[in-house]
């Protein structure tokens, strides 16, 4: 089945609603409208307004009420409309959602999913192109995952809903309309990274929107006789060290690519894990190609701000020439 990521997410949510009556969707404009990106299109019609709930306009309210619903035995799936509108909900996510299991000594699980579109590249206005993953990945008690393909979107959203831990589910909005094959089989646990291209000389590590960039770079490297492996992290917290370090131990070189700003980002953690696990096998320092340490720029500048193919290729060249 070849579908867009939006359709794959919609199908995944539909299947979760069908198979578990405790699953509820909450968010702004997700009902009649089907969400601003149409991820929940048609679900209200088929499952009713009390399972696909148009919320008042308040992100703290969406997540805070999801905490209460989970305490009553429900499995709420929240939609935050855009990455940059997450912040009013951060108090509930960080002080309550992430910490309830720990506070209760393991007695209270909060199986809540917080979905949000993230990342840039769509020519949008301020607050609509951000990559807030590090805030959540740095918060103990949360899982943070992101899909790069329709296949993973379909299966990972269902796995996130089944998870007993609260999960921030990041959807790369510029990949929403790109079609891909969805296999009938779920082939990988939620927490595992995926080697999406085998290679021998260098490992490119990406997640969400940057996986496609990494694959394009790997293609161009192949034309120049360099065999580049591509790892899609999928889960940012927990981080699948075994897969990513295992890859770098084979190739000896690592370049990580993400849209979020450089300093203190996911790339820093990946670099630390790689140097810890593959120090004597490294041929070059781990390189990071990322967004810059500025707020997201006006969209006319985003293509040069984002880690595009040319910047990644340049980092690959530097790594080989080290």
């Amino acid at each position: 089945m070849t579908v867009s990521m939006v359709r794959a997410l919609n199908d995944g949510l539909r299947r979760a609603l069908e198979t578990d009556p405790s699953v509820l969707l909450i968010g702004e404009d997700i009902g009649r409208l089907g969400g601003v990106f149409r991820v929940t299109d048609g679900l209200r019609k088929d499952f009713g307004a009390d399972r696909v709930m148009d919320s008042p306009l308040g992100e703290a309210g969406i997540v805070g009420t999801a905490v209460g619903l989970a305490l009553r035995g429900y499995r709420p799936v929240c939609e935050i409309q855009f990455d940059g509108f997450t912040f009013p909900a951060v108090n509930q996510i960080v002080t309550q959602l992430a910490k309830m299991r720990h506070r209760s000594g393991g007695a209270l699980a909060l199986p809540v999913v917080v979905r949000m579109p993230y990342g840039g590249g769509i020519g949008s206005i301020e607050h609509h192109s951000e990559s807030p993953e590090t805030y959540f990945a740095h918060t103990a008690g949360l899982k943070v995952v992101t899909c790069a393909t329709p296949h993973d979107a379909y299966w990972m959203i269902q796995a996130a809903i089944r998870s007993e831990d609260p999960t921030v589910f990041l959807e790369p909005k510029r990949r929403y309309w790109v079609k891909g094959e969805v296999d009938e089989r779920d082939d990988l646990p939620l927490e595992k990274a995926r080697v999406v291209r085998d290679g021998t000389d260098l490992t490119l590590i990406g997640y969400g929107p940057s996986v496609a960039t990494c694959l394009t770079v790997a293609d161009q490297c192949a034309e120049r006789g360099r065999s580049v492996e591509v790892v899609d992290l999928r889960s940012l917290s927990p981080l699948d060290s075994d897969t990513l370090v295992g890859s770098v131990r084979r190739t000896g070189r690592a370049v990580i690519v993400h849209e979020a700003s450089l300093s203190h980002g996911v790339g820093a953690e990946v670099a630390a894990r790689v140097q810890d696990g593959a120090f004597y096998l490294l041929e070059a320092p781990v390189a990071r190609v990322t967004g810059y340490d500025t707020p997201y720029p006006p969209s006319r500048l985003e293509q040069t701000w984002l880690p595009g193919v040319q910047r990644v290729l340049a980092a690959v060249d530097r790594t080989f020439s080290h």
């Binding site: 805070g64 009420t65 209460g68 709420p76 108090n91 209760s104 899982k143």
Partner: protein, 357 residues
Amino acid sequence: MTIPSLAGEPARILNSDGTLAESPEHGVTPGEVDLTALYRNLVLARRLDTEAIALQRQGELGLWPSLRGQEAAQVGAAHALAEQDMVFPTYREHGVALCRGIAPEALFGVFRGTTLGGWDSRAARFHLYTLVIGAQTLHAVGYAMGVVRDGAVGNGDPSRDTAVLAFLGDGALSEGETNEAFVWAAAQELPVVFFCQNNQWAISAPYTTQSRVPAAQRAAGFGFPGVRVDGNDVLACFAATRDALNRARTGGGPTLIEAVTYRVNAHTTADDAGRYRDDEETRRWAALDPIERLHAHLRSTEALDHVEREADAFAERLRVACRALPEPDPDGSFLHTYAEPDAELARQLDDYRGGAA
């Protein structure tokens, strides 16, 4: 500047001298509530508080937020709960916890540093203390959404129909999350009662820092009733909460209750109220003591004397139980952050165990 609307008299049943008010707004029928049981819980709540302060002074507790002066608001509200109702407390609802059957030493664990939670919140239908101001109001609202989805409202069955009681203080009225909770509860007509103990002080900020109108008056702007009661009148607090919970249970939607009371002690044992308020105000409120009021109403009886003796034994048991609280599982944080620790957290646990050895 004076605010005339803040000077209005809140509804009461018991006058401050223990006599009954004429034609009270929220009535109590004779026999509806066991006055001796109310008195007992008021006395035990205060004794729990007094002992906790002493234990803090002795170094047994790191901190204690005193409820002194607010016993009637808490015990009155708690006595209006049905067993199936759910409570979302702040961190000062020791009197409610007592009425809900929480072992008092479990409350001490939170302030002794042996636990962050400390009781079975589902069994007691009394959620864990929430320290982030106002955050629990949204949890109560979400829980109430679940109650509605479970069909546990408006069935005409008082043993099944369920309401949610969210506690908050006057400071929490200024939090955005509290206002979102009001919006959701109103828009969805949820079975939730917001019980605001207006104890006049949010640490050092007097009520006028938060608002220029009585708390109860705010409810109208959200579209549900606000009720203002004398928070030192246990009967008025009981009756107003009973009415609001019944309204919620039968599908009538939310209510905001403002219990006008006073935080007699400092915010916590770490606070110094002398830096921001004068003794005269505290003395004025102390004269309106909620326990003396009910005692004056009941007059001295053998049953009340028995309560005093029970409180002495209760206090002794608390002192022992506090010191006997188990130390936390050293591995607990690692084991309870996620359903299953991942490989990295398991590695950190090994490291931590090695470092602790």
